[in-house]
């Protein structure tokens, strides 16, 4: 039997995501957001989710729409505050959503550790700050370090540029951001790719996320640009 991780539709891609799941969603601001997969997750109906993302949604689509639909219990992120992050702000002020703020590098490394089977790590980041309160600290090479634990996700929703049927992935420019670490850290990694190419069409030297970290692939050839939508709003 040949390996082929392609699924025919977005609906098939998000099938089986359970209530209460930890869902890691790639993207930084509006770059690399798997908007179509997130919208499919809204249709799919899973609730009581914990979302891991660098931000907490901007505008009204994608992650912001998932939050507005009341499906998210908790957000783990580095930067939930921006002028256009209106949905999260409202939910947070009303006490309707839980927030865990993590320094961006610690967030990336916790995901990487989760995917790499590391039980925790000491980082100098956040030492001596409120974000280290209650955490174990240790002096290493004369500097204070904070013990941080890995993040494992049940599901990762990833936007890639190219994918082959095995699930080897490439990304575009700064849209890569958290996707490789999240793909590693999740039990079920679901990818929307702009283009699905044949086996061998991605030079093995150029594969960024190797197929072992990927479970399902759906082609979304013309993804929504959340940033372009926001820019239209600004210039109106």
């Amino acid at each position: 039997m040949s390996i082929d991780k392609r699924v025919p539709s977005l609906e098939d891609a998000v099938r089986g995501i359970a209530d209460g799941a930890v869902v890691a969603i790639s993207g930084f601001g509006e770059a690399g957001n798997p908007t179509e997969l997130v919208h499919a997750l809204i249709e799919q109906g899973a609730k009581d989710l914990t979302v891991v993302n660098n931000n907490a949604g901007t505008g009204r689509m994608g992650l912001a729409k998932l939050l507005a639909a009341g499906r998210v219990r908790k957000v783990i992120c580095s930067f939930p505050r921006s002028a256009k992050s209106v949905v999260f702000q409202e939910l947070y002020k009303d006490g309707k959503i839980e927030l865990e703020v993590v320094p961006q590098g610690t967030l990336a490394e916790r995901l990487r550790a989760g995917g790499a089977g590391i039980g925790g790590f000491y980082t100098p980041t956040a030492a001596g700050t409120p974000l280290a309160e209650g955490k174990e600290t240790r002096i290493i090479d004369g500097r204070d370090h904070v013990l941080e634990f890995p993040i494992r996700a049940d599901v990762a929703l990833i936007k890639a540029d190219k994918a082959d049927p095995f699930g080897n992935l490439t990304y575009r420019k700064a849209a890569r951001n958290f996707a490789p670490a999240m793909a590693m850290a999740a039990t079920l990694t679901i990818v929307q790719a702009r283009e699905v190419v044949g086996l061998g069409d991605i030079d093995p030297e150029h594969v960024v996320t190797p197929s072992i970290f990927v479970d399902r692939i759906v082609e979304v050839s013309q993804p929504i640009s959340e940033a372009a939508a926001l820019l239209q709003q600004v210039s109106r």
Binding site: F28, G29, E30, A31, G32, N54, S78, F79, P80, R81, S82, F88, Q89, Y92, K93, L99, V101, V102, P103, Q104, G105, T106, L107, A108, E109, L111, R112, T123, P124, T125, A126, A127, G128, T129, P130, L131, Y171, R172, K173, A174, A175, R176, N177, F178, A179, P180, A181, V208, S225, A227, A228, L230, L231, V234, S235
Partner: protein
């Protein structure tokens, strides 16, 4: 007294202290303006924590590529020789001591070089840290660019920060609209001051006790127009 520097002049002054060949991260806001004022004979490679080495100028209107944005989510360009990488590698560069300079904004800087720039700690505000703590802790040198006092005239360079810390004992130098101040082992040392300002005047606007460098110079910058901002 001579007028204080405007924001572009402050950014220009920071740029003069960045050696050619440096790898530099510019924080969101006023630090981003530093890239507009680099001496033309110096090559500097800008790092964006969202995965770019070799960030170029801001993208022209109508030519934005929204897969290529800064940490502040602004569309930019990449120079020839740029590299893209994922967030874990990006922060390995930062925390691992590979970044020569981070230029950051500040709410407060303490006499000992503590930096507070991520939270006022006020009840009701949403906490948001982004990459600030990693950058402050990881870069080999931390340059702070900030007005010397708050809009209400309260000093921002003070004995101890009252706001929650971003990182302790990390600030190398502070570039304000009035002075350039290095954080030395025994506290802040004034390296440059705008003309017409006495040391006592500067001290009166500063919470921490200052020392005047014996080689203190006049802080000067060329007349500069305000730079344009991208609407997103």
């Amino acid at each position: 007294m001579t007028a204080p520097l405007n924001r572009d002049q402050m950014a220009w002054r920071v740029a003069q202290d960045i050696p050619g060949g440096s790898y530099v991260n510019l924080g969101i806001g006023m630090p981003e303006m530093v890239s507009n004022h680099l001496p033309e004979d110096r090559q500097i490679i800008f790092h964006c924590e969202n995965g770019i080495l070799g960030m170029g100028p801001v993208a022209a209107m109508g030519e934005e590529d929204f897969d290529l944005v800064t940490a502040g989510k602004k569309p930019v360009t990449a120079i020839a020789g740029a590299a893209f990488f994922d967030s874990a590698d990006s922060f390995a560069m930062i925390r691992g001591g590979h970044l020569d300079i981070a230029v950051l904004g500040a709410f407060q800087v303490s006499a000992g070089g503590d930096l507070a720039n991520w939270s006022t700690g006020l009840a009701g505000s949403t906490p948001a840290v982004g990459g600030a703590m990693d950058l402050a802790q990881g870069a080999r040198a931390v340059f702070v660019i900030t007005e010397h006092t708050t809009k209400d005239g309260a000093p921002k360079i003070i004995p101890e920060c009252s706001y929650p810390l971003t990182a302790a004992g990390v600030v190398t130098s502070v570039f304000t609209d009035l002075a350039v101040i290095d954080i030395g082992k025994n506290g802040p040392v004034v390296r440059e001051m705008v003309a017409g300002l006495s040391f006592d005047d500067l001290q009166a606007r500063t919470g921490a006790t200052l020392t005047l460098s014996p080689t203190c110079k006049v802080l000067k910058a060329p007349a500069l127009k305000a730079t344009q901002r991208h609407p997103i």
